[in-house]
Symmetry: C2
């Protein structure tokens, strides 16, 4: 493991060297069987458990430094490891080991008029860069998902977790090596120099895809500067449209759950659209307010309940990640679709209605990664979608959209089987 800082002329050289080593290791990974990769991940989990003492010791250093540097209580909590959290990380690796391996899967198969047999088969993407912030569990989670799908990973964690990340990485690499995984298959950037992040973002052709995991500032920088394809979403400005024909009790339960279950996740409701012909708007608005949600509304929404404050123009484009929502009254489906087309971040938008024709139109015309009918947007999650895990949620239009797990970490090749064909 590259714990000793090598002497490099510059960040590009460093990233180039690490990436080439990672790509070489990936060629070995690509040849490993499903069973071999699963065994290696279980060995990594065992090694992590056996290394609890040094990991918790390293984590104590990070916590002490964080306290000295005045990190907030919430950030210290994200950073903190204990026996239970470490067990959770090890169990998550074992969970990934148990997921079906996408590598080698046949997407489709056909026979061309020339007699050539064509097979499209899933293969790993190559080298994945992961850039993340304070949570040290990402080191293990992201590495496990990359390895399970035959990819090498180059990880760059936050400075505040540097000792924890190194200790976790040392344990993982030791466990993996026991089962024949080359050391460079997962690598942690040996420097916290910010310029090294820039070098990763520039490394087109060396790093195949970058996944940023963290706050909006991080994702914004990565999306702005990257020449490498990025899998991410910037905002989760999720709408729930209560259609005229919505069941009132369902509308109330879904709206309150979509906003208040956890206000800080990307799938949480940020804007509630109430159809002008929905007869129970007062009940839904009242339930949100009673649950402790601040509402900022247009004039018609303010008229529903005196506690609704006036919304400013910015509110319709704001991801609060808090117990705050904007609320607008819209005149029917067209107005709802227009509002969503203008303000949605393309993450998750939902309709509540008992009218299946209206639902079908909404599901067809809203152009977001995830569109829902009669469900809380808080379900926007790889685990809830049955993917078994999640490397992130993507709102881009190419490659993979919505919750991305193992399949999104693969690409494919065409295998062409001939019997001596020359092209006429």
């Amino acid at each position: 493991m590259a714990q000793v800082l090598p002497m490099h002329d510059d960040a590009d050289t460093l990233v180039g060297d690490l990436a080439r080593a990672g790509r070489k290791a990936q060629r070995t990974l690509a040849r490993m069987s499903d069973a071999d990769k699963a065994r290696a991940l279980r060995s990594a989990a065992a090694s992590l458990r056996a290394s609890a003492a040094p990991i918790l010791e390293a984590n104590a250093k990070d916590i002490a430094a964080g306290q000295a540097n005045g990190l907030s209580g919430a950030m210290l909590d994200r950073l903190r490891l204990d026996e239970e959290r470490l067990e959770g990380i090890a169990a998550a690796i074992e969970n990934v080991a148990g997921l079906p391996d996408p590598v080698g899967q046949v997407i489709d198969r056909s026979t061309a008029p020339s007699g050539l047999e064509l097979v499209r088969r899933r293969i790993p993407i190559g080298l994945i860069g992961i850039i993340y912030e304070s949570r040290p569990n990402v080191t293990a989670d992201a590495a496990a998902l990359c390895l399970r799908s035959g990819n090498a990973a180059l990880l760059r964690g936050g400075s505040e977790a540097v000792h924890s990340n190194r200790a976790i990485m040392t344990a993982l690499v030791a466990g993996l090596a026991k089962e024949g995984v080359p050391e460079a298959a997962i690598q942690l950037m040996p420097t916290q120099d910010r310029e090294a992040v820039g070098a990763m973002l520039r490394a087109a052709g060396l790093i195949d895809m970058i996944v940023p995991r963290g706050g909006k500032g991080l994702v914004e920088r990565v999306q702005k500067d990257a020449r490498v394809p990025v899998l991410a979403h910037l905002d989760g400005i999720c709408h729930t449209y209560i259609h005229a024909a919505a069941d009132p009790a369902m509308a109330e339960e879904i709206a309150v759950n979509a906003k208040m279950r956890r206000t800080g996740i990307c799938g949480s409701l940020e804007t509630l659209l109430l159809d002008a012909n929905f007869p129970a708007s007062g009940k839904v608005v009242g339930a949100l307010l009673d649950a402790g949600c601040e509402l900022r509304g247009d004039a018609r929404a303010q008229a529903i309940d005196a506690r609704v404050r006036p919304a400013s123009a910015n509110d319709w484009d704001t991801e609060y990640l808090d117990a705050i929502a904007s609320v607008a009254v819209v005149d029917g489906m067209d107005a709802a679709l227009d509002h969503i087309a203008r303000h949605s971040s393309g993450h998750t938008d939902a309709i509540v209605t008992s009218d299946d024709t209206a639902a079908e139109r909404f599901l067809a015309e809203v152009d977001s990664a995830i569109v829902m009918h009669n469900a809380s947007t808080q379900f926007a999650d790889g685990g809830e979608f049955g993917l078994g895990a999640e490397i992130g949620i993507a709102t881009g239009r190419l490659h993979a959209r919505g919750p991305v797990a193992l399949e999104g970490l693969t690409t494919y090749k065409w295998q062409v089987l001939g019997t001596g064909q020359a092209r006429p």
Copy 2:
């Protein structure tokens, strides 16, 4: 149709205006049924046939200008239209109209433990930018493929074909409009200003994907400067490895066909790898030389036939697109795989062998978009793969690889069908 140059402050404003109009039109396209889109394309083909006179007149202007500007005979030939070529363009549009519409296809469907039904459904990508050179048929081909898959297109053709492209576009738009396709669904850049290409390449968030169609200089510039995802390949450095257990007659036929059938296409053989234990190397090398191919080889290849010239280091990384090939003798599969890993451009590589185990290893380990067993690399083509058409061949690792037609012009969304679920 934007034939009149609008007054714009700069290229970015122009591209922004066109892209916004295209995106708006695309929302209409996305709602059109399979049958509607097919009918619109047939109407475009009919309009093209009916507009033969103005199109050929416009083409004559381009030809005259090209002759005055000293264009080569080959370039003039690519530019030239006649009744027969125009009929070919119209027939190609009708062929695309007859292809199955990928939009709305269900990729997969599952039910989550929460009872939510999950459907991944294909949708159009959005607005596709096409940047191309002299062949005016690309105007119609690319527009047809984009429309068939529900995408809007912003086209930027070469200056030398400006009159032809505008006349073709006018005919297409008129035919499409008759069937309800908005005029902005396909747009031709109204200026030949090179800065406008730069503005297209920068238009991330406005243009969803760019497909360059043309020579290496064009593709290189697009790949270097684009902030928008690019679907393309730069080089087609294709290898054919004649394994020790290859059938000699098949090896000879495939090698000669892979190189000499058409030397100028991207799937043509550029490097021949001869296994040191293949007993009939002399026959294969002799057949290529006799067919008029210049061979540049390493020392062992030169020893096979005195007509083989010495290769320089550059030869292993050169796409000749001509009756020239490099040839090396390799010691078995490992050496062949190493050579290909170092020098292949990831387009198409083939093995000729009667040993199925060797073939399987080659097909698994060569990391190119297309890998072939006992077939000529000249088959690397969307038509030959049964895709019915081709917008291009891609060697990138994300989204779509190899020959790309309609499916590669789609993405997907998750449709989530609930019965009132709130997340616990």
